[in-house]
Amino acid sequence: MKRGYRQFRYESTESLKMAFYQIKANKTRSFLTALGVIIGIVAITMMGTAINGIDRGFDKSLAMLGYDVIYVQKSSWTTMGQWWKYRNRPDIQTEYAPQINRIIAGNPKSGLIIAVPQSSTYQASARYRDRNLEQVFSLGTNQDYLQTASGDLALGRFFTVGEAAASDMVCVVGDDIATGLFPDEPVLGQLIQIKNRKFRILGVFRKQGKFLGLFSFDNQIIMPLGAFERVYGKTMFTSIRVKIKSQGRMAEAMEELMGIMRRIRKIAPGDEENFSINEQRAFKSQLDPIKNGIAVAGIFITGMSLFVGAIGIMNITFVSVKERTREIGLRKALGARRQTILLQFLIESVMICLIGGITGVGITLFFTFALGLLVPSFPIQLSFDLVFASLAVSVLTGLISGLAPAVTASKLDPADSLRYE
């Protein structure tokens, strides 16, 4: 038994060395053979990297929304496309926020911390002298807004309870607004024109980047709710932001808020609610079909190129077996068993595939690195799991494609092979 193991070890070492010699001696052929595998592995790793990148970028964006904030809104984020169901629901009122806060205050075991109202519009514009910004996101809220938001201030301060209560014409702006309107001048204390009203800038948010690459938090102007209503009226899109105590108890918190809102809206038990409670994780489930689509396409492309690659390797291994018939005969004459020959050719095909796989991973690494340098904001990441998976796939390809030729080689008749010209 022990002797058998030693023999196996020595034989596989010998086969490994022979495989190296063989590949070294036929560099061009080995490269061409490995090309299919290289392409396959580049495809698999690129695709995986893209999916990872999307995931990571998405997480980064969701972090902006805040993991511990849930929203009371007219429609749901998860079941889009059913607008007719939500259209006739009553609008969310900003007064719900103080009502919710009173209920939270009366319940010491509440999983909720605070509710903050917000009304907003994407159609705002802001002006300073001859500089004008369109498509600004304007948002009216109260002094507690910062507790439910991820951004913090780079300059100045947020508006106070007094300013909020008095509906003062003051605002805090995002970084893009500040730099867009005041490229050279100081920002704080300046008066900007929103519609036909003048607002004083109290503070500037730190730059945050885009949410899902679409919507920018740096493009917003935040003002007291009363001031917002004076400019835009009361009919704008309203939601209630509610901060919860623990992310881990998200479901309970949503349940509690659901109960509170049903009380406020006076919905009879058993009736369907006419509002929705949303959390940022809902977006994630929206992303899954896209990710799956990319994955399916990736697996298809990878599968195709690996299949072609495997056929190439099988073909070339068959040629190699033919060319080395005498060597096989000799090895058998010297005492090589069937499994020894089988192992030798399997090791060769696996090694070619593995070299192809490593090259493929190297190419992807180079591309991701180059892309990272060119477009630093593009979220990409080549994970260790992915590298491991692609190398495993390479080895598997080698085994599958090498099997048939290796079996053929192992079954060759030693006497005939020795005489083969």
Partner: protein, 229 residues
């Protein structure tokens, strides 16, 4: 000298099916070889000497009959058992040398020991010893392409000796060599025989056969004559 036979062949036959015809390559061969025999098997092409050599070397099995090697009937063994027998009991020397061109002399010679599961240190030691024995102690790191034909065949002989086989089987060992080199190789075989080895040569050259102590002539798959001197 009555000695137990090392190899015994009894009514050994090898038939090949060629289309609807049966070719009798070997027809009822009865043959013994004893320890330290030094024999030549001769015969014209088609006489069955290659087939006999294949069966003697356990590269092939007979269709019917008995082939006992050291008291073991080889005729009924499977492929892997035959491989083990070839590895342990038989040292091959070929007309075309059959060294692996990419390996140096040392690595070529130690190849059978790898299949025998001998550890690397002992492998190298024994390979060097075998190469010294055939007079190539200076060239152990050379590749076959850097050697002359006679030297290559000596490496092959070293490889055949390495596992201390029961028999050395040489198939036209001088067939690709000139007269002077042939003489050189036959001298080595003579020395090996004097050292107690059992050697069987396949040849069609009378002067090569004249080096041996026993000549077996085959014709049409049958033994025509078997003479000792």
């Amino acid at each position: 000298m009555t000695q137990k036979a090392m190899i015994t062949m009894q009514s050994l036959c090898k038939f090949y099916e060629m289309g609807d015809q049966t070719v009798k390559a070997l027809d009822s061969i009865n043959l013994d070889f004893r320890l330290n025999d030094y024999a030549a098997i001769m015969g014209p092409s088609g006489s069955g000497k290659s087939t006999l050599m294949n069966i003697l070397g356990c590269l092939d099995t007979p269709t019917t009959g008995v082939y006992e090697l050291n008291g073991v009937n080889v005729a009924e063994m499977d492929d892997d058992e035959l491989a083990r027998i070839r590895n342990k009991e038989i040292g091959f020397v070929f007309q075309t040398f059959n060294l692996l061109p990419r390996l140096n002399c040392l690595r070529n010679v130690e190849l059978p020991l790898i299949y025998a599961g001998v550890d690397p240190e002992e492998r190298e030691e024994r390979a060097v010893e075998a190469l010294v024995k055939v007079g190539l102690g200076e060239r152990i790191k050379h590749k076959p392409t850097e050697l002359s034909g006679g030297q290559i065949q000596r490496v092959a002989i070293a490889r055949a000796l390495i596992n201390k086989p029961s028999i050395i089987l040489a198939d036209e060992p001088t067939g690709n060599l000139d007269t002077a080199t042939s003489k050189e190789i036959m001298t080595i075989f003579g020395e090996l025989s004097d050292a107690g080895n059992t050697i069987i040569l396949i040849t069609h050259e009378e002067d090569i056969a004249s080096y041996t102590r026993r000549v077996i002539r085959l014709r049409d798959g049958k033994i025509e004559s078997d003479s000792r001197r």
